[in-house]
Subunit: 226 residues, 2 copies
């Protein structure tokens, strides 16, 4: 017998449902989110939906316009740049901390992730590769041992996850290069070269940022052709 952990509140599961729907692409960017409709479809009252939307707004996933309605976020080019830069700041800082003060655990988690990615790559398992990718970056951010930083990261990163699935169709990414980059970062960490690891990680994130930029400006063109 062990103490039972409180069942998640209705608001939490509601937020998780909506968040997941946005990240997975089920809810398109910019789509309308009526409290009432969400409450009906999820089978709850408007209160937990409202609370959930407020939480998601503070995560940057939802924009709620007073008396008008709530909408899935629609990033400007600048927002994407800011977001990715912010992410890079947090993740590189976390990596530096992890290397200097939590090396063993960090290495174990990263190696585990890289192994999974390698397996997925040889098996042409793209979703498996994505899972490994997420695992890799989670290892970095969780390896820092700073709970405040971890909270801040999780509070910021959702839009990035959403952008990934919304802008990229499967197989759109250069997984070979991505694999090389992850491996290089792992090697730098193994040798304890924090500066190199951070530089490599920055470049890695920059590549994703650049891909976002291209995709987004491409979309803007097709939506508003002169």
């Amino acid at each position: 017998m062990q103490p039972i952990d409180h069942p998640k509140s209705l608001m939490e599961v509601t937020a998780a449902k909506i968040r997941n729907a946005i990240i997975s692409g089920e809810l398109p960017l910019g789509s309308k989110l009526s409290e009432q409709r969400l409450a009906d479809t999820l089978g709850v009252s408007r209160s937990p939906v409202r609370d959930a939307l407020a939480a998601l707004q503070s995560e940057g996933l939802v924009r709620v316009s007073p008396k008008r309605g709530s909408f899935v976020f629609t990033p400007e080019l600048r927002d994407v740049d800011d977001l990715c830069e912010h992410r890079a700041v947090l993740e590189t800082a976390a990596l530096r901390m992890g290397i200097t003060r939590n090396h063993a655990m960090l290495m174990q988690q990263m190696e585990h992730a890289v192994a999974a990615m390698h397996r997925a790559l040889t098996g042409n398992d793209t979703t498996g590769y994505s899972t490994g990718d997420r695992q890799f970056h989670r290892a970095i951010i969780e390896g820092c041992g700073n709970r405040s930083l971890l909270r801040g990261y999780n509070h910021t990163i959702s839009p990035v996850k959403a952008l990934r699935t919304h802008l990229f169709t499967i197989m759109d990414e250069d997984t070979d290069r991505s694999m090389r980059e992850h491996t290089a970062i792992l090697e730098a960490c193994r040798s304890g070269d924090a500066d190199l690891a951070v530089t490599l990680l920055e470049e890695h994130i920059d590549h994703l940022t650049a891909a976002f930029r291209i995709k987004l400006s491409l979309e803007a063109e097709t939506e508003a052709p002169e």
Copy 2:
């Protein structure tokens, strides 16, 4: 002409009131915050109070325990360390960005703040010095030009502000050293030496962290003497 910003919702002003009460020390650390009582004293219904408390919880200022009540946060030693380290990460990153891409504006704001601090110091105006201090760090974080980072900072920093007023009685800080440090940072920025400026800023923040640690462990002793 620019889009008009909506008048603040009741929830927002409620959150601001409570936040300010916590930061200013009016509400002691760990004190109970009943939704009903807050609603009565503020003259609003429970709904905006509840929303406000949820927002403040995500800022780390309030801990709401299901069915038990809401409480002003009570930091452990580790929380303080994590928080300050997180703050240092964000602020140093912002400073680096500001120096390289927004130098003129950054310098202007920082000089303004330092001048105010200098005036306050010669006039023995401690509250004025605090104001200048906040202005200085705001210049750094707003000088980065990254809205995501700015949001993340504001979302994280409230507990630090609260700790400052709760742990320090007026005149408790070494304002002379603080003044020297701020001036040194300003000089490093003026000369464009980002590495030096960041190092100085890190040390500056470390001093505050150390002061927090001492004060907190001191308090823990008096509260629970063996």
